[in-house]
């Protein structure tokens, strides 16, 4: 009898899992990993896993911010530029005599400041964030080029800090997991997360209930820019230097794509951080797997594009199934 109950529980649990927005992308990720392991024995080796983890880490950290913004119906197109700006702020601040940890803090503060400015322009002056951050994208590129005079900068810092912040092979992915864990808790288990969903789901009702929706949006702009700066710092520590044109729109779109592939609604009101992580893994596995197989860069973009489209079609139809299950 208990066996029957367990079977029912298992089936129920399986059904519950399949109805979750992350489900389709988790299945896709597992299938891809199995495929690439069969296609190339080097796939699941330590050396390749290290490379793979580095492909994944940065887009996932950026996805965590973008997911929060997408949920409250905003977007940040300039986060990839903050990614490049932050290391230069750190290098400059260190050059002015600040110890490296404080210089890092200064870089994060400047990154957060960019988010604050985006928030002010978007919320006070009522410019859609798509436009605000499109402007910021160019503005910050120019700023970084000016600060750097167009030259790459070496990353300051001692051995321990450098290893901790990204130079050790798995440091970046550890930070990414930490950010994912933290943001998952924020989204699912704090008032901030709940109010972010409410703001995107029905701003009028949220405001009616007394939620300060502009504060929620502002906070998420600051969060996204700060995470973008943080990801830029990690990358700078990993590589040991920063190019003023690092990151850019490419890294931003990978972040947004990770979130959307993972099941976050581009129309707002729903989203998942775990899905963003798995979405980032899928993109990373594709990139890394096809690189191992020696597929050339041109074909690669075709495959990534098709993968994004496929994932979106799957998501939308699974969402319909969920809606139809009522």
């Amino acid at each position: 009898m208990s066996g029957v109950a367990t079977a029912g529980g298992l089936r129920g649990r399986l059904q519950g899992f399949l109805l979750r927005p992350e489900a389709s992308v988790i299945v896709v990720a597992v299938v891809l990993v199995i495929y690439f392991q069969f296609a190339n024995v080097n796939f699941l080796t330590n050396a390749n896993l290290e490379t793979l983890s580095q492909f994944i880490a940065t887009p996932v950290i950026i996805a965590c911010g973008e997911i929060m913004l997408l949920i409250c119906r905003e977007i940040d197109l300039s986060v990839g530029q903050v990614f490049a700006l932050a290391p230069f702020v750190m290098e400059r601040a260190h050059g002015w005599g600040l110890p490296v940890p404080l210089a890092m803090a200064a870089a994060l503060a400047v990154s957060g400041g960019v988010g604050f400015v985006i928030g002010l322009i978007t919320l006070r002056l009522r410019v859609p964030s798509f436009i605000t951050t499109l402007g910021m994208l160019f503005l910050i590129t120019g700023l970084t080029l000016t600060i750097s005079r167009g030259f790459p900068a070496d990353t300051p810092g001692g051995k321990l800090l450098t290893n901790l912040m990204g130079n050790w092979g798995y440091a970046e992915i550890c930070w990414a997991f930490a950010v994912v864990a933290l943001m998952h808790i924020v989204l699912r288990h704090t008032r901030w997360g709940l109010h972010t969903i409410a703001t995107g789901g029905n701003a009028i009702a949220a405001a009616e209930a007394g939620i300060d929706i502009d504060r929620i949006r502002m906070g998420n702009f600051i969060l996204t820019s700060t995470l973008g700066g943080f990801a830029g710092l990690l990358e700078a520590f990993r590589i040991g230097s920063t190019d003023p044109l690092a990151g850019g729109s490419n890294i931003m779109f990978l972040g947004v794509a990770s979130g959307v592939i993972g099941g976050t609604a581009i129309a707002g009101g729903a989203g998942t951080i775990i899905g963003g992580l798995v979405g980032g893994i899928v993109l990373g596995v594709l990139q890394d797997g096809f690189t191992l197989q020696g597929i050339n860069a041109f074909t690669f973009d075709i495959i990534i594009g098709a993968a994004i489209l496929l994932a979106m079609v799957a998501n939308i139809h699974l969402a319909r199934l969920r809606g139809g299950a009522r």
């Binding site: 808790i185 699912r188 288990h189 704090t190 008032r191 709940l194 109010h195 969903i197 409410a198 995107g200 789901g201 029905n202 009028i204 009702a205 949220a206 009616e208 209930a209 007394g210 939620i211 009101g269 729903a270 809606g323 299950a325 009522r326």
Partner: protein
């Protein structure tokens, strides 16, 4: 027996040169339900917005439980137990029923992390729904998966759970099928039976309003043109009054 919950006296409201309300008086007691009928532009919504503290009256006085009050803001009105339930504006579709019931009044776990206490909110939500007899399979369902009637019931439950004792319902039965409307009418009947809640309902449908309200008020061009106990009038009589006024207005 019937204790007065809410009274408004000679409320005037002008927007620039336009007089939306030209001295409207109304009252409703605990355990009683008042229906306000009238066409678009009759001033029903303006009256509601004054009672919820959204608009301030140009003249006149509002009383809650017999004491004169100034409804300076929505929060102030809410603190006095006045809550308006809007049909479609009230809920967040992407959130579960229990999250909606506790929106911005979330229960948190104790120090140090102050995370959401999902379990306590679920339990309290189940109790709150059972309390007013709303039957929903699971409080974990997303509100977007519910029917219009169920959503309306959740919105009413939220108001009652937040200690609202003067409920203003804005077109609660609009665009609803018979079964859905029946769900809400049953809910309203149960709330009335509790005896501690006063209900004011804005509506268009005369017959339906007469069926569920104790008293009805007819508003036209910013004035109350007719008031009666529901049992002592009929939809035909109300319609005749509206027609008469309309003809008079056209002739004048």
């Amino acid at each position: 027996m019937s204790t007065e919950a809410l009274r408004a006296e000679r409320i005037v409201k002008s927007f620039g040169h336009v007089t939306a309300l030209a001295g409207v008086s109304m009252h409703v007691a605990r355990g009683e339900m008042l229906g306000i009928l009238g066409d678009n532009g009759a001033g029903k919504s303006t009256l509601m917005k004054i009672l919820t503290g959204f608009h301030q009256p140009s003249a006149g006085q509002v009383f809650v439980n017999g004491a004169p009050v100034t409804l300076a803001s929505v929060d102030r009105a809410r603190a006095l137990g006045i809550e308006c339930v809007y049909q479609d504006l009230a809920l967040i579709n992407g959130l579960s029923i229990y999250h909606n019931l506790f929106l911005n009044r979330e229960l948190l776990r104790p120090w140090p992390f102050r995370l959401l206490d999902h379990r306590a909110m679920r339990e309290r939500a189940r109790a709150a729904l059972a309390d007013i007899g709303v039957n929903i399979p699971s409080v974990d369902l997303e509100v977007g998966q519910l029917s219009g009637g169920q959503r309306q019931a959740i919105a009413v439950a939220r108001a009652v759970a937040s200690d609202a004792r003067i409920l203003l319902l804005d077109e609660p039965l609009a665009a609803m099928g018979a079964r859905e409307a029946g769900l809400i009418i049953d809910l309203i009947e149960r709330l009335k039976a509790r005896g501690d809640i006063a209900i004011v309902m804005i509506a268009h449908n005369y017959a339906q309003t007469l069926e569920i309200c104790d008293r009805v008020m007819l508003m036209q061009h910013g004035e109350v043109t007719y008031e009666s106990r529901a049992a002592e009038t009929s939809a035909a009589e109300l319609l005749e009054i509206v027609r008469r006024e309309y003809r008079a207005a056209r002739a004048g």
